[in-house]
């Protein structure tokens, strides 16, 4: 199976992209525009789909943030964990499912299953019967889940979800603010991952960030300097 392209040249050229079945912890401090990076990495490619589980932004904001052209919108599916707390009567749509709150892990698991089923049906309706569609899953963000639910429960839930992503040859991107949690939490969650992307600020230029991508297999891209221009990621020398 072809690796997933990240759109970040150094990662795609040096590592050939991210191998299917990977789960990546995206560690980024606050105000590092990490949501935008998570969405950039999670942008659906020509032949794959994106599922976002969001506790930070509602579905409308996410659709805007992804900025997909109309012809590609069918590739973005969302589990919105916040809107129902404000609009209790909101009903599920084909590509957007709502759960009662970020603590409703039962609902989240069921809606995730329904979305995968929906993607499979959508692919079949497009006469693409070549097999399981490729899926990128973005969790935005683990930090919010940890506010509401204990680490052990979150670990168990995402242990099951990450195993599912591995089995279906997708990739998972899990956003976490390391400054909001302790070392034990980070090391516990790292056990679910087979790669990590760490984001730091560039001391010399506040508009520039530096990311480091390290896979458990040993592959590493030690330093990518980048900034966002609109929704485009621009790599700096």
């Amino acid at each position: 199976m072809d690796p997933f392209r990240t759109g970040i040249r150094k990662i795609d050229e040096k590592m050939g992209g991210i191998l299917p079945g990977s789960n990546l912890l995206l560690l980024a401090p606050p105000f590092a525009d990490a949501e935008r990076l998570a969405m950039y990495l999670g942008q659906p490619g020509d032949s794959d789909y994106t599922v976002v589980i969001s506790t930070d932004q509602d579905a409308q904001e996410l659709v805007m943030a992804f900025g997909l052209p109309e012809s590609e919108r069918h590739r973005l599916w969302i589990i919105d964990c916040i809107t129902k707390t404000l609009v209790p009567v909101i009903a599920d749509e084909d590509q957007v499912k709502y759960v009662g709150s970020p603590v409703d892990l039962t609902g989240m698991g069921i809606k995730f299953t329904k979305i995968l089923d929906g993607i499979q049906r959508a692919e079949a309706a497009r006469n693409n019967l070549s097999g399981t569609p490729r899926v990128r899953v973005c969790i935005i963000s683990l930090s919010s889940f940890l506010i509401y639910t204990k680490l052990e429960v979150i670990y168990r839930f995402f242990h099951i979800l990450s195993a599912r992503i591995r089995r279906m040859n997708g990739i998972g991107i899990y956003l976490l603010n390391p400054e909001g949690v302790d070392e034990k939490t980070i090391s516990t969650l790292k056990q679910l991952m087979n790669g990590m992307i760490e984001v730091k600020e560039d001391a010399a230029d506040p508009t520039v960030r530096i990311l480091r991508c390290q896979m458990m297999s040993g592959e590493c891209v030690p330093s990518v300097r980048y900034r966002f221009s609109g929704s485009d990621l621009v790599e700096e020398p």
Partner: protein, 390 residues
């Protein structure tokens, strides 16, 4: 008694959940099984019971809104009392320790109970267990069920394995434990439920597959009942009699009558004991032996049909029954053509088919729908409620 509203489950547990019993619905992650709790709540409410619903993961309004588009929709009224995420957050904010939180919950529940008796409690327990510990969370409600006769229904997302569920069952004295999981043997598109433990009736632990219908209701399935037996026993007639839709592959055989050369297939006109059933019929002739074996693979049960007037067909019948026995599939014996003269005695049938005394024989005319459905009914009872006899 409170019905779960899922007919097949109610039938299995003797009609419903007796007053004051404690029920656990344990869900595997990602499996659409919340309908079991929804259905029980809907039934209790419709039966005029005063229900306390604890939904710490969402608001009462959102909970009812989610149900509104399903068969479990309910209007909020004074018989539906909620402790929802708002109550949870208020208690959490005002309690400094888990002990204080426990006491605050107890006080809240006491206040509700003082306003009138609670007949049934529906507890979505994960958030509460996470907050104050499983033992303390369940103890808040177990006592009330024991002393005041409130029937307790608990939904629990089991993020661990079945061993964890066994531990929970052993330590918490539930009267009924139903595990709801994904997959069913190698038929992956079905989910299943299993009664792992029940105190008021005897029931073997057995996976029961189910599907969720378009309208979100639960449809328990018996996915493959195979109707087999020797040639001209009446297998195709049996399937045609009970089925709304059927397909047959009959051709004129050497005897001059139509005989099945591949398979028959049928859906019964009505579900039986709350189950949707699919029937598959085999040919009977010896040279179709490999096809019969394939059709029997993964069968949930077998209706073994013999012609009750022809002993000469029974040796072929014994061969087929041998295959069924080797594959360990539960079966019932349907003795067809009871309206014709020259019936073989039960003793002779038992001897020639090597059936034990415990294996019941059902005499019927495969042309009579009621009698044929009676045989299906007996097989479903065997599959779901009894220990297999052979």
């Amino acid at each position: 008694m409170i019905y779960t509203g899922i007919t097949a489950l109610d039938e299995m547990i003797g009609g419903g959940v007796p007053r004051g019993k404690r029920v656990l619905f344990s869900l595997a992650p990602g499996v659409e099984g919340q309908q079991f709790m929804f259905s029980a709540l809907k039934c209790a409410h419709r039966m005029g019971k005063r229900c306390l619903v604890i939904v710490p993961h969402t608001s009462a309004e959102a909970f009812l809104a989610d149900l509104s588009a399903t068969p479990y929709g309910m209007e909020a009224d004074d018989r539906l009392i909620f402790l929802d995420s708002l109550a949870f957050e208020e208690i959490e904010a005002n309690s400094r320790t888990p002990e204080a939180e426990c006491a605050a919950w107890k006080e809240q529940i006491d206040t509700i109970c003082r306003s009138g008796p609670i007949n049934a409690i529906f507890l979505y327990c994960n958030r509460l267990c996470d907050e104050i510990g499983t033992k303390h969370a369940l103890a808040l409600f177990f006592g009330r069920s024991l002393k005041e006769g409130a029937t307790l229904f608990v939904e629990y997302l089991n993020l661990y394995d079945e061993g964890h569920l066994d531990d929970l069952t052993a330590s918490c004295l539930f009267d009924l434990v139903l595990s709801i999981g994904e997959g069913y043997g190698n038929i992956l598109f079905f989910n299943h439920f299993m009664v792992r433990h029940v105190t008021w009736t005897s029931l073997p632990p057995r996976q029961i597959p189910y599907m969720i219908r378009e309208d979100s209701s639960v449809a328990p399935q018996i996915p493959k009942i195979v109707v087999t037996g020797p040639t001209d026993a009446g297998k195709t007639t049996f399937i045609q009699t009970v089925s709304e839709n059927w397909v047959s592959s009959d051709r004129i055989g050497i005897s001059g009558s139509a005989t099945t050369v591949a398979m028959d297939f049928g859906h019964p006109l009505v579900s039986c004991r709350g189950f949707d059933i699919t029937l598959v019929g085999t040919p009977g002739q010896e040279h179709f032996g490999p096809i019969i074996t394939h059709l029997l693979t993964n069968a949930t049960g077998v209706i073994f049909v013999v012609d009750g007037t022809r002993t000469e067909s029974l040796s072929r019948g014994l061969d087929i029954l041998g295959t069924v026995r080797r594959m360990g599939i539960p079966f019932v014996v349907a003795v067809n053509k009871r309206e014709l003269p020259g019936q073989i005695s039960d003793a002779t049938l038992r001897t020639l088919l090597r059936l034990s005394e415990r294996t019941p024989l059902y005499h019927l005319s495969a042309l009579n729908r009621e009698e044929a459905m009676g045989v299906i009914d007996a097989l479903i009872m065997l599959i779901t409620r009894e220990t297999f006899l052979e």
